[in-house]
Amino acid sequence: MTASEIIFWFLSVLALFSAIMVLISRNPVHSVLWLIVVFFAISGHYILLNAQFLAIVNLIVYAGAIMVLFLFVIMLMNLNTETEPQRNTWLKVIGVISGGLLLTVMVSAARSAGELSNKTALIGAGDIGLIQNLGKVLFNQYVVPFEITSVLFLSAMVGAVVIGKKD
């Protein structure tokens, strides 16, 4: 086992464990905190894959901005008490079973796919993830969607103001 493999397994286990904790913790604030741990683990994966730009953006946007927004709303609503009533158990069981089936199908499809044998994701190699290369592609080839997302943001902004404003 090389160092990067150890890191890979550590990050994977961490991500899965905290994802499950997001699911089962009763207190929404704890869920948010565990979700942040997931994001950190995923950022670790990005760094492992030499995608530094995404790793940083992931931390800034997701862990930094989005999760703070979530926390803010939860605090605002004073939800940190365990207010959530329980859904009946068989619905839960059905939910878990269907999710498990989906997982089984996806993993077995990936395992049996001949196209994937001997395919590896390069770790610690390549420099496409660097900000310089990504920026060049973004502002050459992908400049149209980049402009279009501004429309998206504008609409989200208008919408949030319309909805959030007290009348």
Partner: protein, 111 residues
């Protein structure tokens, strides 16, 4: 690292998100599980972007092969941020009226 590991990891995270959406009742937690799903997708895309078949396949210059997947991740983050702002606004709006974020209140629509 074999790509299957990444597919399995991303699928597992994705399915945990799906299970969360199906089983939880708190609208905010459901929303967080959706974010988890998006992150699983992001991880998968980044892993695919580093798969060497890309470099042979797309015929693009080696320097930028796979960059499209990473930019897709970037756009997903952008959209997720916009979605979160609208979604939380809707949740807050509902909370103001019902003082609850329990989605079982939604069943009132049925009749």
């Amino acid at each position: 690292m074999p790509i299957q590991y990444y597919i399995a990891l991303a699928s597992a995270l994705f399915c945990i998100g799906v299970v969360g959406v199906l089983t939880r009742r708190n609208a905010i937690i459901i929303f967080m599980c959706i974010e988890l799903m998006l992150n699983a997708v992001n991880l998968l895309l980044v892993a695919f972007s580093k798969m060497p078949f890309n470099i042979a396949e797309t015929g693009a210059s080696n320097a930028s092969a796979g960059a499209d997947a990473q930019l897709f991740v970037f756009f997903i983050m952008v959209v997720a941020a916009a979605e979160v702002s609208v979604g939380l606004a809707i949740i807050v709006m509902m909370y103001r009226n019902v003082h609850s974020v329990d989605i079982n209140f939604l069943n009132r629509l049925k009749n």
